[in-house]
């Protein structure tokens, strides 16, 4: 295959977690059979919707913030080359080293080599979608480096030999009783008298990870925002594991998608208000860390920033779909989605589940590799309303449905329908023919019977509008 250098390119196959093992309908069918999963998801999403709604209602200017956030991201995308160069210049001037990774393989290689150069064989990690996307943990393990996830939900997933199912809370599919069982089974040195009270479970994670935090010399993080104007990186978190990873080690490696930057320091005033309220339903998350390069005598003295493409330029090339890159990974769209609430995140097959995943994953991989995801939606539009940066997810879904490969029979039928509708006489004849179907009942014959298996065929009217009009 010829690769045209400099052309926007999708994420390569065979690496990372953007493609599922099976199509969404098959995976969803299995998930729907799991009553415990549905109860856990229903409980969690109901809780977060109420919390988020309450703190959003406190702000009289929420819509104005959304509008500003949307415009800022549109501006960022349009000026991405100059802003990335500006970010690189400012990070470098502050003592950091910037690396560019065209895809998952290159990013994994860069991070692995940076860790190997330190001579360390263990890294602590603060939750990062980008490193999940590229399967960095698997790459590190293959090189003999142990990655330790320190976010509580990521830890639950890692200890449970499980996969993440939500952008913000990867273990949302587990309830407190299941978490207790995982800790008892998998956490070395855990108190056998552990109860399932959330505060007790959190305390167990604190004790388990403390020594690891104090003794590990390399950390890997993602980033919520990077400010081009100043070279500042920001990580928003709750538990303090982020602060541990960003403060204690000697070396910090941050992996960030090229779309996550904002132009100016002032622009953070919009996103720092939007993200916590839309995400965890808090006025502000417990901890936000911001750093610019290296600070002598405080925190890691070696800082590396890895800028990741991995299909993002292919998303940017689609004028309708590119707004998916505005996503700030709050997960509000998951929490309001009637499809996500019932199937959970695993059915989407990608680290990006829910409505945003249904538009982002197919674009990152090429629609042919995630052809069922644009259909994993009822197009109800709740995601659009919930999105803090006003991404029009339903419109992108419809757009991607047009891009997705369709079965030959369906394409032939649609072409025939289009031809008929273009020709008034044919159309009138077809309408008359449709009236005859009143005699045929409410089931279509094969191969269209699949459509009527779960739907009633509407009754064609006894008289067409054209006939009625002609009589007047």
């Amino acid at each position: 295959m010829t690769t045209f250098l400099g052309m926007p390119t999708t994420s390569p196959r065979g690496v990372g977690h953007l493609r599922g093992d099976e199509a969404f309908p098959a995976a969803a069918r299995k998930a729907l059979g799991n009553a415990q999963l549905r109860r856990n998801l229903g409980h969690a999403t109901t809780t977060i919707r109420a919390k988020s709604g309450a703190v959003i209602a406190e702000l009289p200017d929420w819509q104005e913030l959304r509008t500003a956030g949307s415009a800022l991201k549109t501006d960022t995308m349009a000026r991405l080359p100059e802003l990335l160069a500006q970010l690189e210049e400012n990070v470098t001037a502050a003592g950091g080293v910037v690396h560019w990774a065209a895809d998952a393989n290159e990013a994994n290689r860069i991070v692995t080599e940076l860790v190997q150069a330190t001579g360390e064989t263990r890294v602590i990690k603060v939750k990062s979608m980008a490193t999940q996307e590229i399967a960095l943990n698997e790459a590190l393990e293959a090189a003999g480096i142990e990655p330790v996830e320190t976010d509580l939900a990521e830890l639950i997933v890692q200890l449970g030999h499980d996969k993440p199912s939500h952008i913000l809370v990867p273990a949302i599919h587990r309830n407190r009783a299941e978490i207790r069982e995982i800790f008892l089974r998998e956490m070395p040195g855990v108190d056998p008298a552990l109860t399932d009270e959330p505060v007790i479970l959190a305390g167990a994670a604190r004790r388990y990870l403390r020594e690891t935090f104090l003794s590990t010399k390399v950390a890997v993080s993602g980033a919520n925002f990077a400010v081009a104007e100043t070279g500042t990186l920001a990580v928003l978190e709750s538990e303090g594991n982020g602060r541990m990873c960003l403060t204690l080690p000697e070396t910090l490696i941050t992996v960030m998608g090229i779309e996550k930057l904002v132009p100016t320091w002032q622009d953070l005033e919009v996103f720092l208000q939007l993200l916590p309220r839309a995400s965890t339903g808090e006025r502000m998350n417990p901890y936000t860390s911001m750093w610019t390069g290296v600070t002598p005598g405080d925190g890691p003295q070696n800082f590396h920033l890895v800028l990741l493409d991995n299909g993002r330029t292919a998303v940017l090339a689609d004028e309708v779909g590119r707004q998916a890159l505005h996503c700030i990974r709050c997960s509000a769209c998951l929490n309001v989605c009637p499809v996500y609430e019932r199937t959970g995140g695993h059915a989407y097959g990608s680290v990006y589940p829910g409505p945003i995943g249904a538009v982002l994953s197919p674009q990152l991989t090429g629609v042919e590799d995630n052809a069922s995801l644009p259909y994993a939606s009822s197009l109800c539009g709740a995601c659009f309303d919930a999105c803090p940066v006003k991404i029009d997810i339903p419109s992108i879904l419809v757009h991607l449905r047009n891009e997705a490969p369709h079965p030959r029979g369906e394409r032939a039928a649609m072409h025939a329908a289009a031809y008929t509708m273009d020709h008034p006489r044919l159309y009138a004849a077809a309408q008359h023919a449709a009236k005859l179907s009143r005699l045929a009942g409410r089931r279509l014959p094969p191969p269209l019977s699949g459509w009527t298996a779960s739907r009633d065929l509407p009754d064609p009217p006894p008289e067409t509008f054209r006939d009625w009009w002609a009589k007047r």
């Binding site: 500003a68 604190r206 104090l214 602060r243 002032q266 502000m284 417990p286």
Partner: protein, 198 residues
């Protein structure tokens, strides 16, 4: 072609002649109004911080009896409690910090609307690690450091400094999406609010 040029070339090809929007609509509140101290206290307490208002610092710290108490260089000497073992941070080890009873710091900015305090590592606030490892963080905030909302806070902060925004004690929403306090950061956060200029 190196990856930097490759990616930048891909981006330019993807964008074509896309033009940025003419201007960014900033019709949201800019936080120009005076800060409401009552609101700061209410929001701090809502996220489980303990607030001491209009009380002498040294006596309040002494009553909490953290032993030993870590303090950063440049801490106001009037704040130091009598009868408490005080360790000044001049490069203390992580182990010593983790075993300390508490830490006393100043702050740079506080945000009333979100119940947030921000530390920037200047004198009196210290290295980021000292307010992270001890299980109790006592933070002194002056009334003139309190701003109404996030935009006003950012305007006062210097992005070149390492910044830590703190809203309540360490917490998680990872178990059934409900907030519970007490994971890796300090599990107790006490804020002493000084109303008269010190």
């Amino acid at each position: 072609m190196n990856s930097r040029e490759l990616i930048l070339g891909r981006i330019r090809a993807a964008l074509g002649d896309t033009a940025p929007p003419a201007e960014i609509p900033r019709d949201y509140r800019r936080g120009d109004e005076p800060a409401d101290l009552d609101r700061l206290v209410e929001r701090l307490e809502d996220y489980k911080a303990v607030v001491h208002r209009g009380v002498p610092v040294a006596e309040t710290v002494a009553a909490l009896a953290p032993a030993p108490l870590i303090v950063p260089p440049g801490i106001d000497p009037d704040w130091l409690p009598v009868g408490v073992d005080v360790l000044r941070d001049e490069g203390l080890s992580a182990g010593t910090l983790a075993g300390a009873g508490g830490v006393l710091t100043a702050a740079t900015v506080a945000v009333a609307e979100t119940g947030t305090i921000v530390l920037d590592g200047s004198p009196g606030q210290g290295r980021r690690i000292i307010s992270l490892l001890p299980d109790l963080h006592i933070c002194v905030v002056r009334a003139d450091q309190v701003v109404a909302s996030v935009p006003a806070a950012l305007a006062r902060l210097d992005p070149r400094r390492p910044l830590t925004w703190i809203s309540g004690p360490s917490a998680t929403s990872d178990i059934e999406l409900n907030r519970v306090e007490g994971v890796h950061g300090p599990r107790r956060l006490h804020v002493i609010l000084l109303e008269a200029p010190s």
